[in-house]
């Protein structure tokens, strides 16, 4: 797939099964993030296509795929002026899910109740990351795409991410996670895609 004129990678044929966790590794700039964004429908690949096989039907329309995907990455943010609760309520209503669906997700993500109603502006980067992860799971999407989910999290935060990922995968969801953290690679990697530049 070429992106912005330079070909990052070509000839990638990946078949990811339900309930599988795929780890995507590789040095920065080799295309890890771009690969995830292409799956999420944020980036248009110059060639090739992405298809989601739902068992009863196949989805290859990017618009529809976006609704089946929960993406969390460093450059996808929530509104600083709104609190975590308000942000998730807003996104939940867009996703057609009850507004309070975000509350227990925030709890699962380990965001302290006292802080939940403060504007995200006042959050540390670790707390912001938890809100991002919670937002990506809002409508229980079958496919979760996380780009370095634990980069800014402390040990406790990583524990929460483990639980969230475990619940998602046990429910049959698919997870594609870009990370370079060796501990995570052993813990989560059912399959591994490595980009070496």
């Amino acid at each position: 797939m070429a992106y912005g004129g330079t070909t990052l990678f070509a000839g990638v044929t990946v078949d990811i099964r339900a309930g599988q966790r795929v780890i995507v590794t590789g040095a920065n700039g080799t295309g890890k993030t771009t690969f995830l964004k292409i799956l999420a429908g944020l980036v248009r690949p110059a060639s090739g296509r992405v298809e989601v096989d739902l068992g009863n039907r196949k989805v290859d329309d990017v618009g529809e795929r976006r609704r089946l995907v929960g993406y969390a990455g460093p450059d996808v943010n929530v509104y600083d002026e709104l609190s975590a609760v308000e942000n998730l309520a807003f996104l939940a209503r867009l996703r057609g899910v009850p507004a309070d669906a975000g509350i227990d997700l925030l709890k699962k993500a380990g965001l302290k109740r006292s802080k939940q109603n403060h504007p995200v502006r006042t959050y540390s980067s670790g707390m912001r990351q938890r809100v991002r992860l919670a937002a990506s799971l809002l409508s229980a999407p079958p496919i979760v795409l996380w780009d370095e989910p634990t980069a800014m999290l402390d040990a406790e935060g990583r524990g929460f991410v483990d639980n969230m990922l475990k619940d998602h995968v046990e429910a049959g969801g698919v997870a594609v996670i870009a990370t370079n953290d060796p501990a995570e690679i052993d813990r989560w990697g059912d399959r591994r895609i490595h980009f070496d530049g």
Binding site: A2, G4, G5, T6, T7, L8, F9, A10, G11, V12, V14, I23, G26, T30, G31, R44, A46, G189, D190, R191, R192, I193, H194, F195, D196, G197
Partner: protein, 255 residues
């Protein structure tokens, strides 16, 4: 060294090493025809009496073809913009951009020839006649189109946004050329003079309409050269970059 093997049919047109005689003949013909028209415009046509400066009134023979072919160029550019958004092929974006560039050049020529005529006939270079407003709008749209293109780096994004803007802006043009005129005082531009029988006399019409033909020929030729050049640049750039892509290793770690 003429390579006989035709490896890639995709670019058949640029494949011909020796230029095909037919197109060279046409191009030379274009040279002669347009030169003849220029001479005819100045010498063969009788001065247009009834205009303040009969000699200078001949400029209509250059002004009108420019404006007609310019609108052809802008239409072609907008059509390719639509095709690009539908098919997202870089070649359509190249054609759209080239047609806009040539269109801009022709609109400038139209404005200049128009202003010269206006100075003598209506007293000022610019008289805010409704047609002058619509040509100003077209010029500004073309300029904005290229300004917008240069401000976006990602080539796919740049092409998509430029195409979207072209279609969007062109949708606003008829508002100025058709909607507004019927509620403002009549335009200084004579109506239907080039098409109606009793308008211009036969000589003028011949020179004028063959001028349109020649200028369209120039437009098509310029398009072909530019498009072939850009497609070539694309091929060179593509062959250079494919070798650098990252290798992807997929390993099964097992549950």
């Amino acid at each position: 060294m003429i390579s006989s093997r035709n490896a890639d049919a995709g670019f058949a047109s640029s494949r011909k090493i020796e230029s095909d005689p037919a197109s060279s003949f046409l191009k030379v013909l274009l040279l002669i025809a347009q030169s003849a028209l220029i001479v005819a415009g100045f010498l063969w046509l009788a001065p247009a009496d009834g205009f303040r400066n009969p000699d200078l009134a001949r400029i209509v023979v250059f002004h009108v073809p420019c404006s007609i072919v310019a609108s052809i160029a802008s239409t072609v550019a907008t059509v390719y913009a639509v095709i690009y958004l539908a098919k997202r092929r870089p070649s359509d974006d190249i054609k759209s951009r080239t047609a806009f560039a040539i269109g801009l050049l022709l609109w400038v020529l139209t404005t200049v020839t128009g202003a010269i005529f206006a100075k003598v006939q209506w007293g000022a270079y610019w008289n805010w006649d409704i047609k002058e407003k619509s040509i100003l709008m077209l010029l500004l749209i073309n300029i904005a189109y290229f300004a917008l293109r240069s401000a976006i780096d990602n080539p796919n994004k740049q092409a998509a946004i430029a195409a979207a803007y072209a279609i969007f802006a062109m949708a606003a043009v008829p508002a100025l050329t058709y909607l507004l005129p019927n509620s403002t005082p009549d335009t200084l531009h004579p109506k239907g003079v080039i098409t109606t029988k009793e308008g211009l006399d036969a000589h003028y019409k011949i020179v004028l309409w063959s001028g349109v033909l020649c200028l369209t020929g120039v437009f098509v030729w310029a398009m072909r050269i530019q498009v072939r050049l850009e497609e070539l640049a694309l091929r060179v750039q593509k062959s250079k970059s494919t070798s650098r892509g990252a290798k992807v290793v997929i390993t099964e770690l097992g549950p």
